[in-house]
């Protein structure tokens, strides 16, 4: 059975699971207050970045630091819980399909969900930017290509984080603990970003990418270019290692 068929099966499993709301709520929560307080971009803007760019960067900061990793963690745990709550996984393991294949297909579902949130975050950004423009009589709307490119990079950088959380949710079977550990791992990401080995901490990646975007507008704040070395190889190794561990451990409890 190929991965695509398995992906279709896995997507079918999350029907009516309310995951969509988990993707939408953070995006709305992030952008609605931003629209209300958009005027702070005129006053609290130390580096004199154009208010519309400041609005975009500040809004996505909350997303990149907390909301994206938190959403990924919640999705990972929920995807696992859908299998466990009524022994669905036990049934699937007794079917002619490889556990590793199922595990990878589920991770693909996570990627699909990440992509959906990317679209939702862009959509809600535009809605809030239009609203802010109406309220304050100043256009906060940025070009579509710029927004898409910047947001896509942030979400792309979140993929290694997704792999780490996917592994965590499989290794720690009690949902509240995997969730707690995942959420706790988000908190020190800003601290870690200030260390020399920030690239070893995947939870930093989305925030780092956003900060380089900020750096392009205010070079005194942060790097202006993404340091692909050594981030890229380390991210790749971490992603593959986490997925390999996840595949090996997937369904082990049910098979013991």
């Amino acid at each position: 059975m190929n991965l695509l068929t398995l992906l279709r099966v896995e997507l079918l499993k999350i029907r009516r699971s309310k995951i969509f709301w988990i993707l939408l709520i953070p995006a709305v929560m992030m952008w609605l207050p931003s629209a209300m307080n958009a005027d702070i971009n005129f006053v609290m803007n130390t580096y004199e970045v154009a208010p519309e760019y400041n609005y975009f960067i500040q809004g996505y900061m909350g997303m990149a630091w907390f909301m994206i990793p938190a959403t990924l963690m919640i999705c990972a745990v929920l995807l696992n819980q859908t299998e466990k709550s009524n022994h669905g996984l036990l049934k699937c393991l007794a079917l002619p399909v490889s556990a590793a294949g199922m595990c990878l297909a589920k991770f693909l579902v996570m990627i699909v969900l990440t992509f959906v949130q990317l679209l939702l975050s862009i959509g809600t950004y535009y809605a809030s930017a239009v609203l802010a423009s109406e309220i304050h009589g100043y256009s906060f709307v940025l070009p579509f290509a710029y927004v898409c490119r910047a947001a896509s990079r942030i979400y792309l950088a979140a993929l290694p984080t997704a792999a780490v959380y996917w592994m965590l949710s499989i290794l720690i079977s009690t949902p509240i603990f995997s969730m707690g550990l995942g959420l706790a791992s988000i908190v020190p990401s800003v601290l870690m970003l200030n260390t020399k080995v920030w690239y070893c901490y995947p939870m930093d990646y989305p925030f780092y990418i956003l900060m380089t975007e900020y750096g392009k507008l205010a070079p005194e704040v942060f790097d202006t270019q993404i340091q692909l070395m050594p981030m890229l190889p380390i991210a790749a190794v971490l992603t593959v290692a986490c997925l390999a561990i996840a595949c090996i451990r997937y369904g082990k409890a049910e098979r013991s």
Binding site: G62, F66, I74, I176, F177, A184, V187, P188, T195
Partner: protein, 241 residues
């Protein structure tokens, strides 16, 4: 007292104690790691070591503490709802409000665990990076006592939310959103700073003389308010069910 004993029994094998222990250790690591990687930045700063360490780390440590609190509360009420044990509890001569108070008592004691671990970590950092400051121990004790009081409104509020949500995920989701929103609130606003999920970010050495008594008093008032809300919720629920 009996309810506290009963509640202690209920948390057996739920992983509640290891969670608080692990959470405390994790938060305790924050100042150690921060000092280890940026020692020169902090060691040269003016002021007492306690204030320097708190200013540099407490934001993160407090956030970890609140997240731990949210998870802990979820575990406490999840044991009631998971296998419908709450139904049995409701058929016993025991009011749901006493159940709430018992859980609040448990939370009060369990918050001490991470705070003690964090105090030990801060003390060790002081001894290692800022030698020759004997007053730090007393400051730490006072500071951690203050933080315990600051955490109580969040504990009481989370317990009210948790007692209302049969589904642990709903409770956890609300908790995480509140933690996130509180971290986004502007720090200068005195009123917003006393929002239950913002209060744990307050630091004793940053308080004026009048605030040292006022803030704990307001927190105690908030706890009382949440207790009243819980009692009222059960009365209303009974009326409608």
């Amino acid at each position: 007292m009996k309810i506290l004993f009963v509640e202690t029994r209920k948390i057996k094998r739920t992983g509640y104690i290891p969670a608080f222990l692990g959470g405390g250790l994790l938060a305790g690591l924050v100042p150690a790691v921060n000092m280890a990687v940026r020692a020169e930045t902090f060691a040269t700063q003016p002021g007492s070591p306690f204030s320097i360490l708190m200013d540099a780390n407490w934001q993160l440590m407090a956030q970890l503490n609140i997240l731990l609190l949210v998870c802990g509360v979820c575990i406490l009420y999840h044991t009631e709802y998971e296998e419908n044990a709450i139904q049995k509890a409701e058929t016993l001569p025991l009011t749901p409000f006493r159940l709430y108070l018992g859980k609040l008592g448990i939370l009060l004691f369990s918050c001490l665990l991470p705070l003690c671990l964090e105090a030990v970590s801060l003390l060790l950092c002081c001894i290692h990076w800022f030698p020759g400051h004997p007053e730090t121990g007393t400051l730490l004790l006072k500071g951690m006592g203050f933080e315990l009081v600051m955490m109580l409104p969040a504990a009481a509020a989370m317990l009210v939310i948790s007692s209302m949500c049969r589904n642990m995920w709903t409770c956890l989701g609300i908790g995480v959103i509140l933690v996130f929103m509180s971290s986004m609130l502007p720090s200068g606003n005195q009123v917003l700073a006393l929002f239950p999920f913002s209060a744990p970010y307050q630091m004793l050495h940053r308080c004026s003389d009048s605030q040292v008594l006022l803030l704990p008093a307001i927190c105690a008032g908030e706890v009382l308010l949440f207790c009243m809300a819980e009692a009222a919720y059960h009365k209303i629920r009974r009326y409608f069910s």
